[in-house]
């Protein structure tokens, strides 16, 4: 075990304090959503952690078998509700592949801008909760201050603050008008300042470094073996980003870096996400310069009755989100399966838990950046 993890262990007298199974959640101030973790404790040390999910299961995949293709879109929002656009995007891509629809360029750029804004918003929530779990409540409030500016932008463009139903099969719902561009400008400026502030306030804080370094180490081979994706994978040193390796939409025309960690611990994943935020700002600024005039909605067949199957994946803030659609010639999808990265990452909790202290449990949950809507669908 690394040196900084435990130097002065506290041992209880033997009687009565041996292996104890304790419930953490489903209602708990620090599990982000309704997650139940059955923890086996030996005094202060974790011996095992067993996550129990399903508290937010809403039969999304089954329900979509009864909906028409456009009607599924609002449901996809509600999986990863803090970064709804990327989930809509996965579904839109799958449906577009199935129906053979082309998306006009302007719509693609708008999708990129909205998607990257969502990445920023999602990482802001993650940052705030991560800091709050460690006891620093203030960065959480600061993250929400930035999110308010982001919400203003989303509200100006789409009409609502969360759960947008903005992407359509073949394009987007509406264009970004002048008010929208101004709101975007305000948001970007606020984010520039905020990232510097978070850096000073939290990233460089020695207490945070001591609490996050060495926690939840994941080597590159382990990460690949566990099926990790997104920042969890990149924090372990594997340079894989779907936007660069399998570019969808117009990402092949945009220039951005992919931050990669080295030791795969919580601190590295933290840095990866913070750097991703900077890169998102860069992508948005390029997209604003490059966006061409044009249509925002491509040609879609009037009756959507596709046959065949399609699989589409996107680089969501939490990892790789994918949608598998099977059509059988009727207006409803025959099968819709949703691949959730947080669901895959949850298996890392039992892998990491043994040997850590109770106080690290929340750090581990936070470093996965879990969102239960996506896990349970």
């Amino acid at each position: 075990m690394p040196d900084n993890l435990r130097s002065t262990p506290i041992t209880m007298p033997d009687e009565g304090a041996r292996e104890l199974v304790v419930n953490m959640g489903p209602q708990h101030p620090s599990t982000h959503g309704v997650l139940r973790v059955k923890i086996t404790l030996n005094g202060e040390t974790l011996e095992a952690a067993d996550p129990d999910i399903g508290y937010l299961h809403r039969c999304f995949e089954k329900i979509s078998e009864g909906l028409t293709y456009p009607q599924v879109m609002p449901y996809t929002d509600r999986t990863d509700y803090v970064a709804a656009i990327t989930d809509e995007w996965a579904y839109a891509l799958a449906a577009e592949r199935l129906l053979g629809v082309e998306v006009p360029e302007r719509a693609e750029y708008i999708r990129v801008i909205m998607g990257e804004v969502q990445r920023l918003l999602s990482h802001l929530i993650w940052f705030g909760s991560f800091a709050m779990d460690m006891g620093a409540v203030t960065p959480f409030l600061y993250a929400w201050r930035e999110r308010e500016t982001g919400y203003d932008f989303m509200e100006t463009v789409t009409g609502t603050r969360q759960l947008y139903n903005f992407l359509r099969i073949g394009g987007v719902r509406n264009d970004i008008d002048d008010d929208g561009w101004q709101a975007l400008d305000r948001f970007l400026k606020a984010m520039d300042q905020a990232l510097i502030e978070y850096d000073t306030l939290f990233t460089k804080n020695p207490i945070f470094e001591v609490r996050a370094k060495g926690i939840g180490p994941l080597s590159a081979e382990e990460a690949i073996a566990f099926g990790a994706s997104g920042p969890v994978l990149r924090g372990s040193g594997v340079a894989r980003d779907l936007r660069r390796d399998e570019p969808y939409s117009v990402y092949d025309r945009l220039d951005f870096a992919v931050p990669v960690g080295s030791s795969g611990d919580a601190y590295d994943r933290y840095l990866v996400r913070m750097l991703e935020m900077e890169q998102s700002l860069r992508i948005i600024r390029q997209a604003i310069k490059q966006i061409p005039p044009g249509d925002i909605q491509g040609k879609v067949p009037k009756a959507m009755k596709p046959t065949g199957e399609a699989y589409a994946r996107v680089e969501a803030p939490k990892g790789e989100v994918a949608c598998y659609l099977v059509g059988n010639g009727t207006v409803n999808p025959y099968r819709m399966h949703w691949r959730s990265p947080c669901f895959t990452h949850l298996q890392l909790l039992p892998h990491w838990a043994p040997g850590n202290l109770v106080a690290d449990m929340v750090v581990l949950i936070g470093t996965i950046d879990i969102i239960l809507g996506e896990v349970d669908r």
Binding site: R6, T8, A136, F202, I207, R211
Partner: protein, 324 residues
Amino acid sequence: MFGIPEPWWSVVRAVVWALFIIIFLAVNAIVAVWLERKVSGKIQRRIGPQRVGRPIGWAQTIADVFKLLVKEDVRAEATDKWVFLLAPAIPFAAITLMFLVVPWGKNLIPLNLNIGLLFVVAVTSFEVLGLFMAGWGSNNKWALLGAMRTAAAMISYELPMVLAILAVGMTAGSLNMNDVVNAQSRVPFILIQPVAFLIYYIASLAEANRTPFDFTEAESELVAGANIEYSGLRWAFFFLAEYGSLVGTSAIAATLFLGGWRGPILPGPVWFLIKTYLLVYVAMWIRWTLPRVRIDQLLDFGWKFLLPLALADIAVTGLVLALL
């Protein structure tokens, strides 16, 4: 004095001071909690309590106290009755005693002990006893675990605190609190003994269980701390003791390092309150900025860093005093 014969005057004086300290602590709890919520609000770009006692929410804590008063006083059957019931009183008693040797003004000190500093040290160390009694008397494994962790942390930070106080005593040449204040007539000790001040302040944050050392109160920890079995007014006593400890150690720090009641123009007690609450404000500011330290890291920091630093400080102080 005032025409009252001697033995009665001492009694009257003692009673007045005792009442004053207890009322001051009660009012302080109310003010400190309100101040904490307002300061945290300001740091977090929001407003804090507003409605109860518009427009600044001054009555919020009073309302909270009323709520606590009407709560049911629950006590589990299997608890150790007298240990459980007496536990909240101990930290409160310790804080009250701490104020006995704190000078409020030129001749305004409740008890002018020649060993004032030693008295302070002795009294702060039995706060731990109250918390441990709470953990033990609750007959609850988690309370006991929490109490043991708290006790471990508080005891670990006693030593650096004591050594820092000792450094001040050495610099002032006396253990009498009045002498310490008078010795700061030209320059406050914070400038002569900055390291001792930092050590004392950090240790006092650990004693009061405040972030970054508040693992016992952290909701993200499974173990809720020594006082989980307490409800209503009994729990309020622990709460009061925490804020009392904060203001008590700030008052001591103000006396030892910032010159106590000394200051131009304004009367002594006003300066004393200003300095004390300045340190209380800094403690709150620190609380809302820094994340929490883990228990083992906390003990590491106390034993492996603060204690050697405090010893080094004593050594240097002694050397300098011997040479001068």
